[in-house]
Amino acid sequence: MTDLSKTGAALGEPTRTGGTPSAFLDVRDLKVHFPTDDGLVKSVDGLSFQLEKGKTLGIVGESGSGKSVTSLAIMGLHRLGNRGKNVQMSGEIWLDGKELVSASPDEVRRLRGREMAMIFQDPLSAMHPYYTIGNQIVEAYRVHHKVDKKTARRRAVELLDRVGIPEPNKRVDSYPHEFSGGMRQRAMIAMALVNNPELLIADEPTTALDVTVQAQILDLIRDLQKEFGSAVVIITHDLGVVAEIADDILVMYGGRCVERGPVDDIFYEPQHPYTWGLLGSMPRIDREQTDRLIPVKGQPPSLINVPSGCAFNPRCPYADVPKGGITRTERPELREVGSRHFTACHLSSEDRTRIWNEEIAPKL
């Protein structure tokens, strides 16, 4: 791990050393880079955020914006498999007073599943097809608790019942393929919650599900959070989902955070042109739209060749508003624009307010 911190220093970025953090989850200047034959893929490039217990953070962004890699890095799963061989990671991840980036894989393993757990997008590939649902939940429990099989099985049944699987006594012996998509996702939530984790990361937990099932699962996650008081990070591309479930939202673009703030601020006073783009390109079920959608032009950036300056500048309709081509040469830093509301944009606050009020808000 020591050479990893060296990499961070080699990248020339000063790591903020603010001592032990007050927030439950505190991610500081996280960078995850993957060297490949084509070049260095900067999946996450300087990301910071905090999350308190009992709160939900929604991370939104397009595919390839680095949202999933962020969650894998927190879980310490980025090292697994082939791609993890020479991953370069720097920054700090503080979970309940413990630093995870510099921790040994063993230490992280002890935390994983117990203090932090993850729900994956595709429960069919996240579960082992050869073992029964019950077996897999029991295994997750017994890794962290010294209990006999019977007790663990009782715990599995109890959890399956809690997540709303009918006849948990019987279904505990079913195999994943015998479950429907929604039930599999419930079973995976049961597995994630078996050790009462304090941090739950859900990576696109409802993307593969139908809306009616999605509503059930979101309802379940909300209930469970109230009951267990865990911190939840929910990663999704669906702004509707975060609007319903998140307290804070973090918008990612090209491996960086472009805007972060309380959910109401992001939806009603968004400050970054990319967030405007996301809101404008979304068809709405709750209102009549006679106008056309306003798409973000162009394509998401390559993470090997992130555009210089602001990563969004080639697609930004307002890239030329700030003078001197600063958007193309200088990377904007996150600035506070409201209470707990940050944005990384070169536009002056007057310009942003004017553009939002005159050009964007009327069309939404």
Binding site: E62, V211, Q214, H237, G240, E244, P283, R284, I285, P295
Partner: protein, 405 residues
Amino acid sequence: MSETETRAGTSAVTTEKASEDEKPLLRVEGLVKHFPIKKGLLQRQAGAVKAVDGIDFEVRRGETLGVVGESGCGKSTMGRLITRLLEPTGGRIEFDGTDITHLSTGGMRPLRRDVQMIFQDPYGSLNPRHTIGTIVSAPFRLQGVEPEGGVKKEVQRLLDLVGLSPEHYNRYPHEFSGGQRQRIGIARALALKPRMVVADEPVSALDVSIQAQVVNLMDDLQEELGLTYVIIAHDLSVVRHVSDRVAVMYLGKIVELADRDQLYTAPMHPYTKALMSAVPVPDPRRGAAKSERILLRGDVPSPISPPSGCRFHTRCWKATEICRTTEPPLLELRPGQSVACHHPENFEDQAPQDTVLLTAAKEAAELVSDEVLAESAETSAAVAAEVSKAEAAKETETTENTEDK
């Protein structure tokens, strides 16, 4: 029917132009597709997946018909039936007056020019070993069409039309992003100037910003080329944006078919209402919307042995005895809005004699908020009875409590 059949020639079409416009482009009657399940050594048929089980609808010229439903409701099978990629088990499909229900592959070939399909997966639907030029020019080769100015020029015009650079002609699919690939699929579908395009989940694999680009593109092309679309999607927001009329499917049946605005403002089928209430709204302050949410119990039943009567009765909070025994027909209750339900929402009860809820309905109602129940009670005597019973129970409880004190 004989009249329509004789009118196959193009000359006849022009002379009857006036009445032509009135006639739907596609008419589907009693369409059925059962996939057999075979078992044992002799592969005897043990049952059937009733993917599409008797649906009727029309697609009018120049309109966009949206088809929504959960996975497994048969919407994709329906799309493949009307493009005749699958052989129907029963029913009748009429395209522009011609019966195409059981046409052979050869018989269908001339019609392939008029009916094209856009597929969901922009990765699986393009041959990775062919260049974009080869892929988009395939329809010309197969149909033996020599476009004006040559194939290459026409392909480049098509690429330009869908917003790709004509220089992409010699590139391979892997060099393109998902959104660009979907544009290639659209260019290929439009090559032969079809009249109807069936798009199966055309944007669901795309990021939201790219999704908007493709939706706008399809919109522009419809206007420019006078296309008729059948758009199959599970995303109700997208469907609301693109459709003129919307069909809602559940377990192989159309449960509601209505003009877009009517359907979204006043859905009549309880399933439509539940489906729409489940869509997360990107508006955090709409706390009220959350209480209107109707959670459905469990999963969609198996299409191998669908429930009797109304297929939704096992999950519906308004179901009564008649729902279990009698299948409701799809009736146009309001102009432009057809629904197959005995106890529709936002409309008078079709079976007011039934005033007792099924047990399953009572269980389903537990997951439905009081606001929704109150609304349903207005149109259903059975729900009203149940609601007043619950209220009476509550009152006695409170009076008992006060008496105890």
